[in-house]
Amino acid sequence: MSIRTALLIGFTVAILCGCLRKEILDDINIESAVGFDEAGKEKIRGTVLIPVYKKGETANKTLTAVSPTAKDVLEELQYKTSEPLVNGSIETALYGKRLAKRGIFPFVDQFHRDASIGTRLYLAVVDGTAERLLEGRYGRQGSGIYLSNLLKQNIEQRDLPKTNLHLFLKTYYADGKDPFLPYIRRVGEDVQVIGVALFRNDRMVDTIGRSDMFYFKIAADAYSEGTHTIRLNRQHYVSIKNISTKRTISFSGPKTRPHIHVHLALEGVVREYKRGAFTFDVRKSVEKTFEQQIRSKTAALLRRFQEKHIDPIGFGDLAASRYRQFRHRDFYKNYSHLPIRVTAEVTIRDTGIIE
């Protein structure tokens, strides 16, 4: 083969390899959030949110379609747009409450299977319908970014435990842990996180209200920063910031019905205390009250999980790592009667820049 033929072939190949489908940003509709709702029996209503970039701000467009399965809904929507819908940058997927109670796995698996969707995708359950929530206009950067920032901010600095597509699937497939997702609601022109939705397999079975979220987060995950206000007595409150927590769970006794001990260690800085000097005695009493609250609230939550027979904390998996030849089935047979002891240790590190 002469060099010329070789070059010719090489050149042809190089040119042909450019013949793949192109996706030019101006010619496609980029979905930034999707929502799924129940629409009668065996029907699903799907909504996608598309940002429309204008000078100065971002407007939103939503498209809705009804169809029997999740994949079809998104296909169905293609008929409604002049430009192809692209799902590579979906950042949030929302599920209506009624659908969540029926099971959301088929609508999550579809994202899992798609190579173009990232595993940092946020999932959330909506009180009401996802469609109504997505129709709202929030923020200047478009509702899609607003929603993902809302969840991100609440996870990093507030009381939401870490969740995303990867973690949902990880816990869904785990034998000894149940998934949970943020629970949100539209309030006028805002969206609020109102709690945590708890799942058994892929069905939502319970929710935790906002007042219990702090205690849920320190038990299920860990706190690295954030603020929490506790009530001392009557009208006196103290707020503590830069909270960091460490959870230690230990097991003792036989592996089919172990005694569980949850120890929560917390460190923080006082941010606001209105009643004069923050003396050593006050500090001690704040620590004590906080410890007492953590103990009772967390214990109540865990009790509730046992009654509902769900395990969002992952006791099963933790036990599996402590006992040899562990069987999840035997463990969960006795789960609701297992004795769980909660202890807490609060340390107020310092009192800010004033004494």
Binding site: I9, V13, D175, D317
Partner: protein, 362 residues
């Protein structure tokens, strides 16, 4: 002894780069699932076990090479005569060609699934094999030069696993040794395909200056890849839950989906594109080894042999259509590699030893 002019040789130190970049191939993208299916959260022990056993095999390979004055094919001929020995060596040529083909086809599948669903197999295969031919025709020194860069450039990918650490639960690895030893050994056996690559030393040994000094570099290379695989396995086992891992075809790529940098939202695309550099040496050396055997066995020039082998590889990649078939050829290569390294090489060493005792030399 097949003497190779000194100007064509490389320093013993380069053995390290050749072996490491030959070992790290497409296997890394998905081996965790297979071994975790057998050995569960103890799979990382299997990796160490597979690494340890390949050190032993490498010692045997070096011993064999010394007995044959550096020419492995000569050993075949001296022990089994011209015809049987020649037949065995041609099987070896087939094996290396198959290695190049399987690696290439598996990588094309990754591109098709992850990046360009409408990429035709032949387009990529043809372009890639041309590149490989271009490199391989330049001779072993050029191939090694490419190796060096193909290991150094993608090595930054190691740091990307830092992002995954946020989502790892290392307690999932406990309790250690909860699976029966037999399953751990079985998983180690399944590691063969991922560990394969160091047996190419049989062919390129004559191209190393002061060949026997390269042994320490070869062992260092094996140790490096073993530790890398073990680390990756530990991360994977901590990142996924057990049943979730079973659903991932390419766990390494799925882990990259978690990486997010300010300037790039989805890292796996960069990772896959960079992986081309890791695949390149694999295919090149496979082709080179295969053509080198042909040159020694048959009255052909190495370039002609290369062209024919590359053409065969090209048409073979077209025959594979879907995931099941890709999986199938990978399993076959895994099995063949296992029999070659762990059954045939020890047998050969035994025969050589006996013949040496009887005849006085080999």
């Amino acid at each position: 002894m097949a003497s190779v002019a000194e100007r064509l040789q490389v320093s013993p130190f380069m053995t390290f780069f050749v072996i490491v970049s030959m070992q790290i191939g497409v296997g890394v993208l998905g081996f965790q699932r297979v071994i975790a299916k057998t050995a569960g959260h103890d799979a990382w022990i299997s990796v160490l076990l597979a690494g340890a056993s390949s050190h032993l095999i490498l010692i045997v390979l070096y011993w064999l090479l010394q007995q044959a004055d550096g020419d492995f094919l000569l050993l075949h001929q001296r022990l089994f005569g011209r015809w049987v020995g020649g037949a065995l060596s041609s099987l070896l040529a087939l094996y290396f060609a198959a290695m190049a083909f399987v690696v290439l086809r598996t990588y094309i599948e990754v591109i098709q699934v992850w990046m360009f669903p409408d990429l035709k197999t032949w387009e990529f295969s043809l372009a890639f094999l041309f590149l490989c031919l271009y490199i391989t025709v330049g001779g072993f020194r050029v191939v090694v030069g490419i190796y060096f860069f193909c290991l150094i450039i993608p090595s930054y990918l190691l740091f990307t696993f830092w992002f995954v650490l946020d989502y790892t639960d290392f307690y999932q690895l406990l309790p250690i040794l909860d699976h029966p030893p037999s399953t751990i050994v079985k998983a180690a056996k399944q590691m063969t395909l991922t560990m394969l690559g160091y047996e190419t030393i049989l062919l390129f040994y004559p191209f190393i200056k002061r060949g026997n000094q390269s042994a320490k570099w070869a062992h260092a290379a094996l140790l490096t890849t073993t530790l890398f695989y073990a680390l990756l396995t530990v991360l994977t086992l901590a990142y996924f839950s057990e049943k979730q891992l079973q659903r991932q075809i390419w766990p390494t790529l799925t882990m990259w989906k978690m990486v997010e940098l300010p300037f790039i939202e989805r890292f796996e695309y960069i990772g896959i594109a960079n992986w081309l550099l890791i695949i390149l040496p694999n295919v090149c050396l496979g082709l080179w080894c295969s053509s080198r055997i042909c040159k020694q066995l048959f009255p052909v020039r190495q370039k002609t042999a290369l062209l024919v082998i590359a053409a065969i590889c090209f048409f073979s990649t077209l025959l594979i259509h879907d995931r099941k078939e890709v999986d199938f050829v990978n399993t076959i290569l895994n099995r063949v590699g296992f029999y070659f390294l762990y059954i045939w090489i020890p047998c050969l060493a035994g025969i050589t030893y006996i013949v040496k005792k009887v005849r006085g030399n080999v």
